[in-house]
């Protein structure tokens, strides 16, 4: 009570919330993951700096695995559809996700892109589904997209200190593909050993594949790694009652 006029004083109460700021995205990602598992689709979230060679890696993957496995892809791009066009030309059914000002993909954008249509069917029946994220070493790292694995394409031309400068991205990576290794002879001061050392300080289970999309170095190791992820997804128990989870598609 206030002792001037006897009115009720407002009181301050503390309300515990304890909720992750990412919980809405995580919920949508769990929904996507359940669908991928149900359909036996191995989803790969491919991240990396602008121009690190993500699209070139997928083009090379189509050449290496296209005959053996069914591939599908979506490409996050701020403004253009270039990457999805390149992937389609390489024989991978693909669709662009134009993000406008957003510097990353989130689970709702991926769900919107793969829900229905020709691309939806291609994704559902694929063995490997690649999500090429927006070129950015910061923002994409924290958004779960329902993927089975996170892959970071790091090019040798970016120098040796990127893992230490962008630890959040590399902490979340299951695999780092060191791209453009055909250029190593031209780069003074860049050694694979120094990059591996930096990775060991930020990545709890460091795994590195040296690769060149130009001369084919490392493509066999990359294909083998992908096959192992696919086998893991195939062996994982399917969700028992596929649509027992609340199933409202927002778009």
């Amino acid at each position: 009570m206030c002792d001037v006029c006897g009115c009720g004083d407002p009181k301050v109460v503390s309300v515990d919330v304890h909720a992750s700021l990412l919980s809405a995205n995580d919920h949508e990602a769990a929904h996507l993951r359940a669908h991928f598992l149900e359909d036996g689709v191995t989803a790969i979230n491919l991240m990396g700096s602008p121009g690190s060679g993500k699209t070139a890696l997928l083009e090379a993957t189509a050449r290496a695995l296209g005959g053996r496995l069914r591939l599908a892809a979506v490409s996050g791009d701020l403004a253009t559809t270039h990457d999805a066009d390149r992937l389609a030309l390489a024989g991978i059914p693909s669709a662009p996700i134009t993000t406008g000002t957003a510097c990353h993909l989130d689970a709702a954008m991926v769900a919107g892109a793969v829900h229905g249509g020709v691309i939806g069917e291609a994704v559902r029946t694929s063995d490997l589904f690649f999500i090429e994220n927006v070129g950015n070493l910061v923002c994409p790292a924290i958004y779960d997209l329902g993927q089975a694995a996170n892959v970071v394409a790091l090019s040798v031309t970016e120098g040796i200190d990127k893992p230490l400068k962008y630890p959040v991205m590399f902490k979340a990576a299951d695999l780092v593909v060191l791209t453009k290794v055909d250029l190593l002879p031209h780069l003074r001061g860049v050694s694979v050993g120094a990059i591996a050392d930096a990775l060991s300080r930020v990545m709890p289970t460091p795994r590195l594949i040296e690769l060149s999309a130009v001369d084919g170095t490392g493509l066999a190791a990359w294909a083998e790694w992908l096959m192992a992820r696919r086998d893991e997804v195939r062996r994982a128990p399917r969700p028992a009652h596929p649509h027992s989870h609340g199933h409202e598609h927002q778009r």
């Binding site: 503390s14 309300v15 515990d16 909720a19 995205n25 510097c103 923002c139 060991s200 300080r201």
Partner: protein, 115 residues
């Protein structure tokens, strides 16, 4: 730049937390931002000051705890020195991030009418 989308998720969560308290004013918003959670506290603050307009948390103070990263051994729980390789010195085990990887809305302070 994703700070803006995180702050808009924060405002949604605050709206939901305040809903059971009619007439309440949000005074303080306590968030915890991990060092390895990928958020710049200053950008987060600027985004909050812009996006809270017209929302339940309009006028509220933002209190940010910046939580330092702490890696520990998965097997024996020994601490791993900052900046060192993420391997346990004691047993060789792999590391896990024990603190500093999360983004949390911890708590709200509400001013509610005393009736």
């Amino acid at each position: 730049m994703h700070e803006a989308s995180l702050v808009s998720a924060l405002c949604d969560q605050i709206d939901r937390a305040v809903a059971p308290h009619p007439g309440a004013l949000v005074r303080v918003v306590h968030v915890r931002l991990g060092e390895l959670a990928g958020v710049e506290p200053e950008l987060f603050r600027v985004a909050f000051e812009t996006l809270r307009e017209g929302r339940a948390c309009d006028g509220a103070t933002l209190s940010i705890v910046h939580e330092l990263a702490e890696w520990r051994c998965r097997a024996c729980d020994a601490a791993i020195t900052r900046g060192a390789a993420l391997r346990c010195n004691a047993c060789g085990g792999a590391a896990r991030l024990a603190r500093g990887g999360d983004l949390f809305l911890d708590r709200l302070e509400l001013e509610v009418p005393d009736v």
